[in-house]
């Protein structure tokens, strides 16, 4: 990459914390968000537990400082909370905001509100408070609402590539900086739980009713989650001008397609291999230099096998420590890429490796084992963060300490 890209801020909200500090503490304390659904009203609240943020929409509005009457969907509210923290950490001034871009990712946008007001919204004779959610199911709407909230005009974009979405928002952000289009960009993703996703994944029979077990031979599927995370990316010359101290560097990235099946990963993880390799190649980094992989690790039978084999193929007999943080947050779909990018940055800046919870028994098909315990003083230089999705979309980010 011709122009170096630095991370000067990040923000996050998940079921294990409403800001970066809370998330970090939960990761260290092995505290998970998995449990019965209390906020989302679904018939599955007891039989399909998930990683839910235990704050009502009203409480989220209070955190954002907006009125519930403004029609901000839960996805938008989560997005605002995380992006605000990122902007604050990066110390973006109002004048910088004007020249900043916003790239956000989501898979469901405001489906949660659409399903809640489904019949009323379609009936022209019905009127009431629900009308603020008229066009909020559209995925681009959440980014535009956020952009308006922050006064961002320069570049507004929305990505949706299923569960790799926010990794791709980060990649686009980096490339907009490399190309000289932007100097500063806020990028990430937001996703609220909905009946739509819970029932969708349930109909695919890939939800574990118990707490998920990534890379374990007895893994039975994923747990869903919700959340949002954003990074502030800035060019090298911009931080030289401002004198800001960057937190980490985005060193490389890869985006490929598995081209195998609409919803399943190829058995040998061809796309995953290519994406990780591309991330290393763009940074001119040898696989042996990677000190930790934050895997996609959803705990579905298919993903963990495919990803594990791709890792073995790329790293040979020098596979670095790896773990999945999905048992903490659940699979937050479009937000997973940016949430795990934030965890990877935390790992780099605190020099820790977060444990892969619930791993007990080795998979027969793999010769590699995830980290089960928290590792401190880990001496991390390069961390790879993987995000894969339906449609064969696979992306990998390479983050570096400074």
């Amino acid at each position: 990459m011709s122009r170096r890209i630095f991370i000067t801020g990040y923000g996050i909200i998940t079921s294990i914390g409403k800001n970066a500090a809370e998330n970090y503490q939960s990761l260290v304390d092995r505290k998970c968000g998995f449990g019965t659904l209390e906020i989302l009203n679904t018939v599955h609240k007891d039989d399909l537990p998930a990683c839910e943020i235990k704050l009502s929409d009203q409480q989220l509005c209070d955190l954002c400082g907006v009125s519930i009457k403004q029609g901000y969907t839960r996805t938008v509210l989560l997005g605002i909370i995380a992006a605000k923290e990122a902007m604050h950490m990066a110390g973006l001034s109002p004048s910088e905001m004007y020249a900043t871009g916003l790239l956000s990712a989501t898979t469901t946008g405001g489906i949660r509100e659409l399903e809640r007001h489904y019949y009323e919204l379609q009936d022209p004779n019905e009127h009431g408070d629900f009308e603020v959610f008229t066009d909020t199911a559209n995925p681009g709407e959440h980014t535009e609402r956020m952009a308006e909230e922050f006064g961002i005009k320069k570049y507004v974009g929305t990505v949706s590539t299923a569960c790799s979405s926010s990794a791709n928002a980060i990649i686009l952000g980096a490339r907009l900086i490399t190309s000289g289009e932007l100097d500063t960009v806020i990028c990430g993703g937001a996703e609220a739980l909905s009946k739509f996703t819970i029932n969708g994944f349930n109909s695919l029979m890939i939800l574990d009713r118990d707490h998920c077990k990534p890379f374990d031979i007895k893994r039975k599927g994923l747990n869903l989650g919700e959340g949002a995370a954003y990074l502030v990316l800035e060019s090298e010359d911009t931080i030289q001008r401002s004198g800001k101290k960057p937190i980490a560097e985005l060193k490389g990235f890869g985006n490929t397609n598995d081209a195998f099946h609409q919803t399943a990963s190829s058995p040998d993880g061809a796309g995953a291999f290519l994406a990780m390799k591309m991330a290393l190649d763009t940074a001119s980094i040898h696989p042996s230099a990677v000190s930790y992989i934050n895997t996609h690790g959803t705990a579905t039978e298919n993903n963990d096998l495919s990803e594990g084999l791709a890792i073995q193929r790329l790293f040979g007999n020098q596979v670095p420590p790896f773990s999945s943080t999905k048992p903490y947050t659940g699979h937050t779909l479009a937000a997973a890429g940016s949430i795990e990018a934030v965890y990877s940055i935390m790992a780099l800046s605190q020099q820790v490796i977060f444990p892969n919870l619930n791993f007990n028994e080795q998979m027969e098909e793999l010769s590699i084992t995830p980290e089960k315990e928290l590792i401190e003083n880990a001496k991390l230089k390069y961390v790879l963060s993987n995000s894969f999705g339906f449609g064969g979309n696979v992306s990998s980010l390479l983050l570096a300490s400074l």
Partner: protein, 358 residues
């Protein structure tokens, strides 16, 4: 990047007009009378194998067909990457799943509509069909979706050794979007003849749809349609002056003066309120420039600018303008060299796309 030429070496489009045959140029014009314009489709079996065809939703069939027409036209069977764009994606399928879910109290659901409803389902399907492991992305930012995809493709070609990207749009005229958006008068209250869209100075537009794919390359192909010079997006300009300033910057970046633009493709939607800023802007800057319009042919949808791009590319290649799109009497130069597409969606997403004859 602004001085690089990006060649549109192939295209394929399925729209509410008969546009799927690249050897013809709007051979017959179809009028719609219920404010909803839906696609005129070819025989899908000529593009998609029967086993695959049975499994695909209507939108996936239309999208994949447009992509195949495009790859056949350009002769590129394996692009370096695929980028798609949509406003509402497969809302039709999503709505089917939601309806079933609500009607059956979240029990006994089948995953088909859920699986086919993800926004990247088409880019994944095209990758699967072309066996393309390369870059793959999908943009879903309303009236910016297609422009972001174009911009991404241009950046990919500029920054790497890649040669060709397949870039496509898709949007479906679905019922739920029609009903929901009718609440904010996005569609006209009165039913009109679609071809008379611009004679009705009222609130609302017509609902349209379509899918258009383009191959974008750094090198000129044998059947090249035109050069894509540049694209830019402006989010919620508060006045036509603001839009004008952004436009001036765009021209400057590409080192072009306004007099060089031979033809304006105006993306007015026929909605008197949403069109206000764009029509003020074009009236001020382009009153002497020949102008054509297209949303009376394809309707309004988030990625309608891709229909505009198809129209511009066709005019530049064929050097003819069908009379149905002409909107002002300004005389045309003997050779149409530079074309500007100016678009707006819902009065929020504005864009400019600049094309040049090869």
């Amino acid at each position: 990047m602004s001085n690089t030429n990006y060649y549109i070496n192939g295209l394929g489009i399925v729209s509410p007009q008969k546009t799927y045959n690249n050897n013809e140029f709007l051979p017959e014009i179809v009028a719609y009378h219920d404010n909803v314009l839906t696609s005129i489709v070819p025989d899908f079996k000529e593009y998609i194998n029967p086993v695959q065809l049975r499994r695909l939703s209507r939108m996936l069939r239309i999208g994949l067909t447009a992509a195949i027409i495009c790859t056949r036209d350009s002769g590129i069977t394996k692009p370096d990457g695929i980028i798609t764009a949509t406003g509402y994606g497969f809302l039709n399928d999503t709505a089917k799943f939601v309806s079933e879910m609500l009607a059956q109290q979240e029990r006994h659901l089948t995953p088909t509509f859920f699986m086919q409803g993800t926004y990247n389902a088409l880019s994944g399907l095209v990758a699967l069909t072309l066996k393309c492991n390369g870059y793959n992305n999908t943009y879903v930012n309303k009236g910016f979706s297609f422009e972001t995809a174009l911009h991404d493709g241009m950046m990919q070609l500029y920054e790497s050794n890649f040669k060709t990207f397949l870039i496509g749009s898709y949007d479906e005229a679905d019922e739920i979007q029609y009903k929901v958006n009718s609440r904010v008068n996005h569609y006209k209250l009165e039913h009109i003849n679609s071809l008379e869209l611009y004679d009705h100075a009222t609130k609302g537009s017509l609902q349209g749809e379509g899918s258009a794919f383009f191959t974008l390359s750094k090198e000129q192909g044998e059947k090249c349609w035109c050069i894509l010079k540049g694209v830019t997006m402006i989010f919620k300009p508060d006045s036509s002056e603001f839009l004008g300033e952004a436009f001036k910057k765009f021209l400057k970046k590409h080192n072009i003066s306004i007099n060089e633009i031979d033809l304006l493709i105006n993306g007015l939607s026929g909605d008197i309120e949403n069109d206000k800023i764009l029509s003020e802007f074009t009236a001020k800057l382009f009153h002497q420039t020949p102008e054509i319009r297209f949303k009376h042919l394809c309707g309004e949808y988030c990625t309608a600018s891709s229909f505009g791009l198809w129209l511009g590319a066709s005019i530049l290649k064929k050097q003819q303008i069908p009379s149905i799109v002409k909107f002002n009497p300004a005389s045309l130069p003997s050779s149409i060299r530079m074309v500007l597409i100016a678009n707006q969606y819902m009065g929020r997403n504005y864009s400019f796309i600049l094309l040049e004859k090869v």
